[in-house]
């Protein structure tokens, strides 16, 4: 384990310093984050040396399969992990320079929920079923800004209008079950945007929705993000969602970012074998009647992560070096990072 940790610390964060943060408008910087879960079978390493940054006005997609640690990262940022069983042995989560892991609980409450907010996958469980939606949106204004009941309600209606809920003034007293899935997700988005956050984290916001409704919600998120010049982290397993909404993408595998860079470039010319496999397994028109290029095997067991690169056993490019040590996330091109010993070969394949 110690060797892996050492390798992690060689990540991209080294050239970063707080002064630079201010200069290039970094909202959130996650450094070497590790999250472990104590389970009855041992310690599962869900996030294993995660490095990430989001700038103002930037939409970052986090792409990964289930178990890759994308949701756990989001929950760690929001401070809503159940601890125990989870614990964070090391790492920093810097929101505009303040480490969310070490600030006082009082300061944490001021920051999380207003400066950085989150939209969850399942809108129905994210909302309280026994309160009208207007009260739930208004509550934010009452708690954080000390609005009166009447002002809070007016602000809630304004917010519902903003996320384009038809007849907002009429529906403000309705309960969550009276709304459709897409409308509920709009209400959750209204709550997340109510306090003008600098950063919005959306964890699979459209996975539970139909494709035509998904298109509406993605458009709303993109529009709000651009209008407010806000940072957006969009967590998803769906490549097309990433392609549609984000400027930057971080591909996660087994608790680490394996590739990071501008979305269009990463998806069209992947530098990591795993992102390459993901991009290729989309059933394109030209593959009709042929076999899909699947990634063989299954993701590793988080209880027993291999010593070297966790993708090595599924990778066509793997060599001995891959089994021995973990490749660091290195700069491979302008603003592009990849954690692979064979990135140049992978890129050569993409060009061929």
């Amino acid at each position: 384990m110690s060797s892996t940790r050492k390798a992690n610390s060689m990540g991209i964060h080294q050239h970063a310093n707080p002064a630079a943060d201010a200069a290039d408008d970094v909202l959130l910087r996650v450094k070497d984050l590790e999250v472990e879960f104590n389970t009855s079978k041992g310690v599962a390493t869900a996030v294993n040396g995660m490095n990430l940054e989001v700038k103002r006005g930037q939409a970052l997609g986090i792409l990964g399969e289930s178990g890759s640690g994308k949701s756990v990262t989001a929950r760690a940022i929001m401070g809503i992990l159940d601890m125990p069983p989870a614990h964070i042995p090391r790492g920093e989560i810097l929101l505009e320079g303040e480490d969310l892991l070490t600030v006082t609980p009082r300061r944490h409450r001021q920051l999380v929920g207003s400066r950085v907010t989150m939209v969850f996958q399942d809108a129905l469980t994210a909302l309280n079923p026994v309160h009208p939606v207007g009260r739930q949106i208004g509550e934010l204004y009452r708690v954080h800004r000390g609005y009166s009941r009447r002002d809070a309600k007016a602000a809630a209606i304004k917010m519902m209008d903003k996320v384009r809920i038809p007849a907002a003034a009429k529906r403000v007293n309705d309960y969550p079950h009276q709304f459709s899935g897409g409308m509920r997700q709009r209400i959750v988005i209204a709550m997340a945007l109510a306090l003008d956050p600098v950063l919005l984290i959306a964890d699979e916001p459209t996975t539970a929705l139909d494709v035509t409704v998904q298109a509406q919600i993605l458009e709303l998120l993109k529009e709000q993000q651009e209008e407010r010049n806000m940072g957006l982290i969009l967590i998803t397993h769906d490549i097309s969602v990433v392609r549609e909404v984000t400027d930057q993408v971080a591909v996660m595998y087994a608790g680490r970012v394996v590739e990071h860079g501008p979305t269009a470039e990463v998806l069209s010319r992947p530098g990591h074998p795993y992102s390459r496999g993901l991009a290729a397994s989309i059933a394109g028109e030209e593959l009709k009647g042929r076999r899909l290029p699947a990634i063989l095997g299954t993701p590793p067991d988080l209880l027993h992560l291999p010593a070297g690169c966790s993708f090595a056993n599924r990778c066509a490019f793997a060599s001995e070096a891959c089994a021995a040590s973990v490749p660091a996330l290195e700069l491979i091109d302008e603003a592009r990072h990849s954690a692979c010993f064979h990135t140049s070969e992978v890129l050569a394949h993409a060009n061929a």
């Binding site: 399969e65 289930s66 459709s180 899935g181 897409g182 409308m183 139909d210 494709v211 035509t212 409704v213 998904q214 298109a215 509406q216 458009e219 397993h237 769906d238 490549i239 097309s240 392609r243 549609e244 496999g277 993901l278 397994s281 989309i282 059933a283 394109g284 028109e285 593959l287 009709k288 076999r291 899909l292 290029p293 699947a294 990634i295 063989l296 299954t298 993701p299």
Partner: protein, 355 residues
């Protein structure tokens, strides 16, 4: 893999069904579910999950079904598999109405039509080992694999679906999602069926595993001559695996054609909107497909709109759409669309191709 037993051909009634008859056919199938009333008075309401569906699946063919939740896709699967008797209409398997079969004939029909479910874990009994799970179908149909050779047969099946036969004493929770789905598929093909109804078989799987399972289904079809009804909301997967594709909206088939008819010369506004919601499909189109974002949600199937069911959300709706429901209009040899303007829509693509 042993070839599907030929004894099925000689069962009474199935011996001489004409070769041109589709393997399965649905004729004007309606499935309505009564809505629970809180008071014993007032009008009875019905969810019209299927409202007049005509579809057919030929031997060796894959029919893909796309549509949003609530459009009746899963009801279609259940009715086709004979799990539910339709309110009206008939389902034919090899020219025989499956809901009139009795006794041995019914048992034989059930052997021939199998299902694969969306959630592999909840469709497997957690207390049974893989071997028990896969051999369970043979308890009911011992004629397919006599007890003596059953172990070997199970081993063969597991190898066929890409599972390690040495793991046959493990329980479902020991396997990953993709492997669990392989167990489900092994159960589905254990009895050498002719028809496999796959209700969102890859939706619960991760992207990298999804392609593996799609490839497996493809291989099995070639090897065993299976026919598939393939329901999914992933439009690209459906295009990849299907010979023909049906789009459903609120209990109705709104477009039906070969995969290239439906994907490349879409002649129905709802299918167009679906396609445009998938960025990859928009781009692959060569000259970019316009992006249509539909307003609102699908209406309730309890109280579907009058006239064309899609007119409330349709970007090109006219006055006629609110009053008269369009028929399925033939716009090509194998291509039908339910829209008053289907012919115009289809013509657009012809123009574009000519330009």
């Amino acid at each position: 893999m042993p070839t599907p037993s030929t004894s099925t051909q000689t069962l009474p009634g199935t011996a001489n069904y004409p070769a041109c008859t589709p393997l399965m056919e649905m004729r004007d199938v309606k499935q309505h579910y009564a809505v629970h009333r809180h008071l014993p008075i007032g009008p009875r309401k019905f969810v019209k999950a299927l409202h007049g569906v005509d579809l057919s699946v030929h031997a060796g063919e894959t029919l893909g079904v796309i549509g949003e939740s609530g459009c009746g896709k899963s009801t279609l699967a259940r009715v086709m598999a004979g799990l539910e008797k339709p309110t009206q209409g008939q389902v034919f398997f090899r020219g025989e109405d499956i809901n009139t079969l009795r006794g041995d004939e019914k048992k034989e029909m059930r052997r021939n039509i199998q299902l694969i479910f969306q959630d592999p874990y909840s469709s497997l009994n957690p207390r049974m080992t893989v071997e028990q799970l896969v051999s369970e179908p043979y308890e009911i149909h011992p004629e397919v694999a006599p007890k003596a050779g059953r172990k070997a047969k199970i081993k063969e099946l597991l190898e066929l679906v890409g599972l390690n036969p040495n793991h046959s004493d493990r329980y479902p929770h020991n396997f990953s999602g993709g492997q669990q789905q392989r167990i489900g598929i092994a159960r589905g093909i254990a009895l050498n069926p002719k028809m496999l109804i796959c209700d969102e078989p890859v939706s619960a799987l991760d992207v990298s595993v999804r392609a593996q399972v799609v490839n497996l289904l493809d291989d099995l079809q070639k090897e065993l001559g299976l026919s598939y009804l393939f329901i999914a909301h992933d439009l690209q997967i459906v295009r990849h695996i299907s010979d023909r594709v049906a789009t459903m909206y609120l209990g109705r088939v709104v477009e039906l054609g070969t995969y290239s008819d439906v994907y490349d010369s879409t002649a129905q506004p709802y299918t167009r909107a679906l396609m445009s919601a998938a960025p990859e499909l928009r781009r692959n189109d060569g000259n970019d497909r316009e992006k249509i974002i539909l307003q609102g949600d699908p209406p309730s199937p309890i109280d579907p709109p009058a006239g064309c069911r899609f007119h409330t959300r349709c970007p090109m709706a006219q006055a006629i759409c609110a009053t008269r429901e369009p028929e399925l209009i033939a716009v090509g040899d194998s291509h039908e669309a339910r829209c008053h303007f289907a012919k115009d829509l289809a013509a657009e693509f012809v123009q574009r191709a000519g330009a």
